[in-house]
């Protein structure tokens, strides 16, 4: 999506990051005192989410840069940490929870990177293994063509041994990252889905083949990889399609270089259904067999989730018996019936993921 207007918080107008972005973008630019004006414009638009993707707001992150994953009650969380670089996204996926997560959604990019790196220094000082990523509230790589921020991050993570950075994306914007000395402290991760879902529900994202080629290129440059089948969407023929994606994945990458693969079927707060119906009139993804989960989110009927997971895990295991597969936000029943064990049998999900990161990313493991 092309940015049509750049708004700059007067508070960050003089930062070098702001000046660099302003010079690079060459779009109408307006300095504002806070986000109130943008909220007004978006709230009164017929398609606030669509408009929000064309209006970039450069501002300061006034809260914490390093946050714990919000998780959800009743389901097992991976204990991930979030490096909060911005909100919302220029790509336009029908299922994106960010459409209803922020009211209204504002495409923000936090440019007080001095504060961000100071927060990272404090994190690196902690005597624990940390898995942290930038792809929770936005795509990790959408802003790299206007500011070489990921390069700075990768270089900074390469200087330490306690933490691993995960850059999660649906882009193939990695060419500039390939030559960087990363010391395997950055995982390049792709969200994967079937061709049907990518072409029908993920506007302005890259094709599956392109993502897999990019992953292969990253692997060739020594980057550890991760993949996220999230959201898995159930539709007629989906089983064959997802298994095909798994086959293609392992034709492209070496299983021993994959740090983890997550699986998560579509889930969403009830309010998102209306947004999907209005913004994606031909999409039927919100019309699956959903029930209200214990956390209030809509989830596929549990036997459906389990059946889908079982098929996918079997196929992944046939290619990569040792790769760590985990569920994003599922309960013990799903773990037991799909994986054959529950996370607490193996020290808990965070520990399982830490161990995989230690092994694949050469982290120091004194505290494990």
């Amino acid at each position: 999506m092309k940015i049509s207007t750049l708004y700059i918080d007067s508070d960050v107008a003089d930062l070098p990051e702001t000046k660099a972005i302003r010079d690079k973008m060459k779009v109408p630019c307006r300095v504002v005192d806070g986000a109130g004006h943008i909220h007004d414009i978006l709230s009164n638009a017929p398609d606030p989410e669509g408009l929000a993707k064309t209006v970039l707001y450069l501002t300061r992150n006034r809260g914490a840069f390093v946050r714990d994953c919000p998780g959800t009650s009743h389901y097992t969380c991976c204990g991930y940490r979030i490096l909060h670089i911005g909100t919302f996204c220029t790509m336009d996926c029908a299922y994106c929870i960010l459409q209803s997560y922020f009211h209204p959604p504002v495409l923000q990019y936090f440019v007080n990177h001095g504060d961000l790196f100071a927060a990272l220094d404090r994190l690196f000082g902690e005597n624990t293994v940390t898995r942290i990523g930038t792809g929770e509230f936005t795509d990790s790589l959408i802003w790299d063509d206007i500011l070489p921020f990921s390069e700075r991050l990768i270089r900074r993570f390469a200087e330490q041994k306690r933490a691993v950075l995960e850059l999660k994306t649906k882009t193939v914007n990695i060419g500039h990252l390939l030559p960087i000395r990363h010391q395997r402290k950055t995982i390049l991760a792709w969200s994967l889905n079937t061709e049907t879902i990518i072409s029908g529900e993920e506007r302005r994202t890259t094709k599956l083949q392109a993502r897999l080629v990019a992953a292969s290129q990253a692997q060739a440059k020594g980057y550890p990889l991760a993949f996220h089948f999230d959201p898995i969407i159930i539709y007629p023929g989906c089983e064959t399609d997802y298994l095909f994606v798994i086959d293609r994945l392992f034709q492209s990458v070496d299983p021993s270089n994959v740090v983890w693969i997550s699986l998560g079927t579509l889930r969403f707060m009830p309010a998102l259904k209306t947004v999907i119906e209005q913004r994606f009139p031909r999409s039927a993804i919100a019309c699956g067999e959903f029930v209200k989960g214990l956390d209030g989110k809509m989830r596929y009927f549990k036997p459906l989730r389990i059946a889908m997971y079982r098929r996918m895990i079997d196929r992944i295991r046939s290619h990569a018996p040792d790769v760590l597969i985990y569920f994003c936000m599922e309960d013990d029943e799903v773990w037991r019936k799909s994986m054959g064990f529950i996370p607490s049998d193996r020290g808990g999900l965070p520990r399982m993921l830490d161990q995989s990161a230690i092994k694949c990313c050469d982290l120091a493991a004194d505290d494990i």
Partner: protein
Amino acid sequence: MRFSFKSILLRSIDVKDARFRISTQGPIDNLAAAIDRIGLLYPPILYEAEDGACIVVAGFKRVLACRMLGRTGIEARIMPGDASASDCLGVAIADNTFHRQLNLIEQSIALSKLSAFYGDGVELSQAAKRLGMEVNPGLVKKLLRITALSGPLQQAILSGAIPLSIALGLDAIFSPSLAKRLIAVFEQLRPTLNQQKDILQWVQDLVRIDPAGDAALLSDEACRGVLTDGDLDRPRKIRGLMDILRRRRFPVMAAFGDQYRQKMRKLSLPQGMSMIPPEDFEADRHRVVLDFQSLEQLEIQIAGLHALARDPDFLSMINKDFEDFDPLH
């Protein structure tokens, strides 16, 4: 406003000019009979042009009733000569609201006509309130949409078969033919508001899942069978229709529930004992409820519980795992 009173020839009144008409059409036989018996208590209000031609501002039915009675003239109140169209409309609305509650269609007509003189929803609702209509800007927005609805849908609102919120959704979401079938079903079965909401949501989802299926929805053999079954009373028809739609909308959940109930029947639980699965089978907590009146009954049920714990069907129920059941196929 200064009205004058005048005898007017009925033939000089153009009753086809409905620019100030608010009331919906309806039978006038009773009104005519009343006028015949006790006379015209409230004269209609007319606007008289310079050439003597009159149009009705308020009292269409009274004028028509007098014509039906074969009268040639009528006593009428005449609007001041300098009255504007806005004045006449205001009088027309007030004359109605001061006597009775306007139905939804009439409210919509009144607002639609008033909207020619007032800008936004707030201004319009304030003007309507001054004329005796109790409407806020949000309701104004909804009511204004009614005049654009199809005739059958307006009739369904008038008859009370379909609430306004449902009617607006029906018109906005569905194809005209499917909307017509839904209206017919709602008029026939009169489901509650919540039932209507469920039916609409399921039908809407089914159309989204399979747009080509629109034509068959509600007119297929199964639905027609329920709707035309003379042995079923109205509540059972509603239940039957909702069951068909629910099963189509949630086929795996319905089949899974069937399996569960089938196992439950096979268990032959002792009298007074019931088993309650987790809601939507999402959690893993099951409940067995014992309902007893005496110690003997309780002992029988406890013995039944022990037997139950060893029953393979019971185990498959609490494991939510039914052989030969593949949710993906």
